[in-house]
């Protein structure tokens, strides 16, 4: 009967209900944000056009400001922007100090400082050409944009929920990191407690002796806590493993070992041009795939239950899809019009945008509205 009632209700109502459910504030699956950010970073890696890169940074900042929550990691974005500024500055300074002065348009002539023979025959300063500085700027801006994209993922994705999504083979390591993340704040409390106890005994709070008097008890406290934690984990059934037939274990081991051998050979082939082409990247990727397959197979041994698992819903798919689409469009733009995406430094030209590049940037910006809004701070805590 309920089925009939739902079925007979007007389509408009259903869509509006879906829309309001869509707009409900919730945290997006962290994997979706990471895929989006990695897509943007890939897009940034395929161009040195400063206009395109600046637009990408702007879009990333827009999405972060629109959709970041109130957790402490949400404030990390600013740090990444500053890191990007430092990278660009470093590249340019390196070009000025150690550039060697190739290029026609000399901006300034700094006094040259030749270094002695042991310093690889390097000379410092000398003429500074516009081409050289601009090349450093383009290169640095590309790297900085990629970093800022990753910074956006850091600010938007909840690391604790991401750890819940690790594959089974990494379950133990993921659990250790979760333990570390939850114990770290308790250490502060432990330090305060030990210091209070010391003050009650009339000890001073300064100097090397005070440091030892606080640090060692805190360490001992933490170690004791780990034993209590292990007992709690045991009593809740941690470490339950599924029985794995011997045949499957052999397959896993063969896959992992064979894959790693392939990776080693592929790396060698990549760095040695005398060998045939298939020994390079293809072998490396095949080896990685085999090893990862073995790892995932080994993860089936782990049995775990999940409390409130994060699910991939339409919003997650769309956000991740936006990032991947942006990367694809940028690669396409590079094949259609490589000159505009890698504007030449000499002769000096003004960089120009292409329609495909603009489309890639626009697609990258869509999650600013498409993603569900972040959960607001509860009133009593605000």
């Amino acid at each position: 009967m309920t089925d009939a009632a739902v079925g007979s209700s007007p389509t408009v109502d259903r869509w509006s209900a879906r829309w309001s459910a869509w707009r409900l504030p919730r945290g997006l699956h962290p994997g979706a944000w990471w895929l989006w950010a990695l897509g943007l970073a890939t897009a940034a890696s395929h161009t040195t056009n400063p206009l395109g890169l600046t637009l990408l940074v702007a879009v990333t900042a827009l999405v972060v400001i629109q959709r970041r929550g109130h957790a402490p990691w949400a404030l990390a974005f600013r740090m990444y922007v500053w890191l990007g500024v430092v990278i660009v500055a470093m590249r340019v300074v390196f070009r000025i100090v150690l550039g060697g002065g190739q290029g026609e348009h000399v901006l300034v002539r700094l006094p040259e400082i030749p270094l002695p023979e042991w310093a690889a025959g390097i000379r410092l300063f000398g003429p500074v050409a516009a081409e050289q500085v601009l090349g450093g700027f383009y290169d640095g801006l590309r790297l900085a944009t990629m970093l800022i994209c990753l910074g956006a993922a850091n600010a938007l994705a909840n690391p604790k929920r991401l750890l819940k999504a690790v594959p089974g083979a990494l379950y133990a390591v993921g659990t250790a990191v979760v333990v570390a993340l939850s114990v770290a704040p308790q250490l502060v409390e432990s330090v305060l407690r030990v210091r209070r106890a010391r003050r009650l005994r009339g000890a001073s709070g300064r100097g090397m002796r005070a440091f030892r008097g606080v640090a060692l008890p805190v360490l001992a406290d933490a170690l004791d806590r780990s034993l209590a934690l292990a007992a709690a984990m045991d009593s809740r059934g941690y470490g339950r493993t599924a029985a794995v037939p011997a045949g499957q274990r052999t397959v896993t081991g063969t896959l992992v070992l064979g894959g790693l051998l392939g990776v080693c050979a592929g790396t060698y082939g990549l760095l040695d041009t005398t060998g045939p082409g298939y020994l390079g990247l293809p072998l490396l990727l095949a080896g990685l795939a085999a090893a990862v397959g073995g790892m995932l197979l080994a993860g089936r041994r782990v049995r775990r239950s999940r409390y409130r698992p994060d699910r991939w819903q339409l919003a997650e798919l769309l956000v991740a899809g936006c990032g991947i689409a942006a990367a694809g469009l940028m690669v396409l733009a590079g094949t259609v019009d490589p000159e505009r995406l890698y504007p030449p430094v000499s002769p000096l030209t003004w960089p120009e945008l292409t329609p495909l590049l603009l489309l890639a940037v626009a697609v990258a910006a869509v999650p600013a509205w498409l993603a569900p809004p972040p959960t607001p701070i509860p009133k009593d805590r605000a």
Partner: protein, 311 residues
């Protein structure tokens, strides 16, 4: 003692992955000339940036595949938390690095496999806490893991002052090595392509090495890296004995590797009890010969007043 048993297969995986990973650090030294134009030459390092996280994940999965004891896991998490909390203490102050100190000591006490895991988890937890996840993270994790692994592989014989001296020396060397590796990784990204300090594709290894040595000497070896080596060595020398004792005490308390059996409680009393109580322990085995399970069961039957009825 070793908390985490490293099976032969795991050791092989570790060596293979380390060899491949070393290439991701050192590729600028022997990268061939790229046939494409220079703007696209940036693709080769990207392959390695993608490859290394997978390699690190593989090794971590393989190390824990034997099923890691819950006590070892909790210890790992707690020590990683302490390390992650120590790390920001030094950041920003030139070259003061506080991570390696506990990593080296814990690697020494808990063995190479645990040291490797601790290096990775510490840096990963620290990156999550400070939202510092980036392409550099897998490289830092692996370099720190090697530091912890090496600390576990040091000769076991020295104890007392010799041990602290050995660990302090190792800490200083490892701090320099970590700095060199991270510089080597960062070199192509920081100096860019066309400066006199950049790597030259296709040049002989020695020439590139010469350039790199100069780059690292100028940018960090005499500043950051020396600061890091000194801090690590001094911290180990000053606080090492006390921390080692605390860690060993925790390891003894946790009794890693003790077989879990479900037998009736044994009457073997701790040695600190008054001798009058010890008299009951007539069947105590000779020192250095741990009693097997069946042996204990046997003694329970013999000496406990309720023995025969309980079994």
């Amino acid at each position: 003692m070793s908390v985490l048993r490293v099976a032969p297969r795991t050791a092989v995986v570790l060596v293979l992955a380390s060899v491949a990973a070393l290439a991701t650090f050192t590729w600028p030294l022997f990268v061939p000339v790229q046939p494409e134009n220079t703007a696209r030459a940036g693709e080769a390092p990207l392959v390695f940036v993608v490859m290394l996280p997978v390699l690190v994940a593989l090794v971590l999965a393989e190390l824990t595949s034997g099923g890691i004891d819950s006590k070892a896991l909790a210890m790992l998490g707690v020590l990683a938390a302490v390390n992650a909390a120590l790390r920001p203490l030094g950041a920003g102050t030139a070259g003061i690095e506080t991570v390696f100190f506990l990593l080296v000591l814990a690697g020494r006490v808990f063995g190479p496999g645990f040291g490797f895991l601790l290096g990775s988890t510490s840096l990963f937890a620290s990156a999550l806490l400070t939202a510092g996840v980036g392409p550099w993270l897998p490289f830092q994790m692996l370099a720190a893991s090697w530091v912890g692994l090496g600390a576990g592989l040091l000769p076991r014989r020295p104890r007392g002052r010799a041990e602290v001296a050995l660990l302090a020396g190792y800490g200083a060397v490892a701090a320099y090595g970590y700095g060199l590796l991270m510089n080597l990784w960062f070199w192509p990204f920081s100096a860019g392509a066309d400066t006199q300090l950049s790597y030259v594709a296709g040049a002989p290894i020695l020439e590139n090495l010469h350039r790199f040595v100069f780059f690292t000497a100028v940018t960090s070896t005499f500043g950051w890296d020396t600061g890091r080596a000194i801090t690590t060595a001094v911290l180990i020398a000053l606080a090492g004995p006390a921390v080692l004792a605390a860690l060993r005490r925790a390891a003894r308390k946790a009794a890693f590797g003790a077989p879990v059996t479900f037998a009736a409680p044994e009457p073997g009393l701790p040695a600190s009890l008054p001798t009058a109580l010890l008299a009951a322990q007539a069947g105590k085995p000779a020192a250095g010969q741990p009693a097997g399970r069946d042996d204990r069961q046997h003694r329970w039957d013999q000496h406990h007043p309720l023995g025969s009825r309980v079994t």
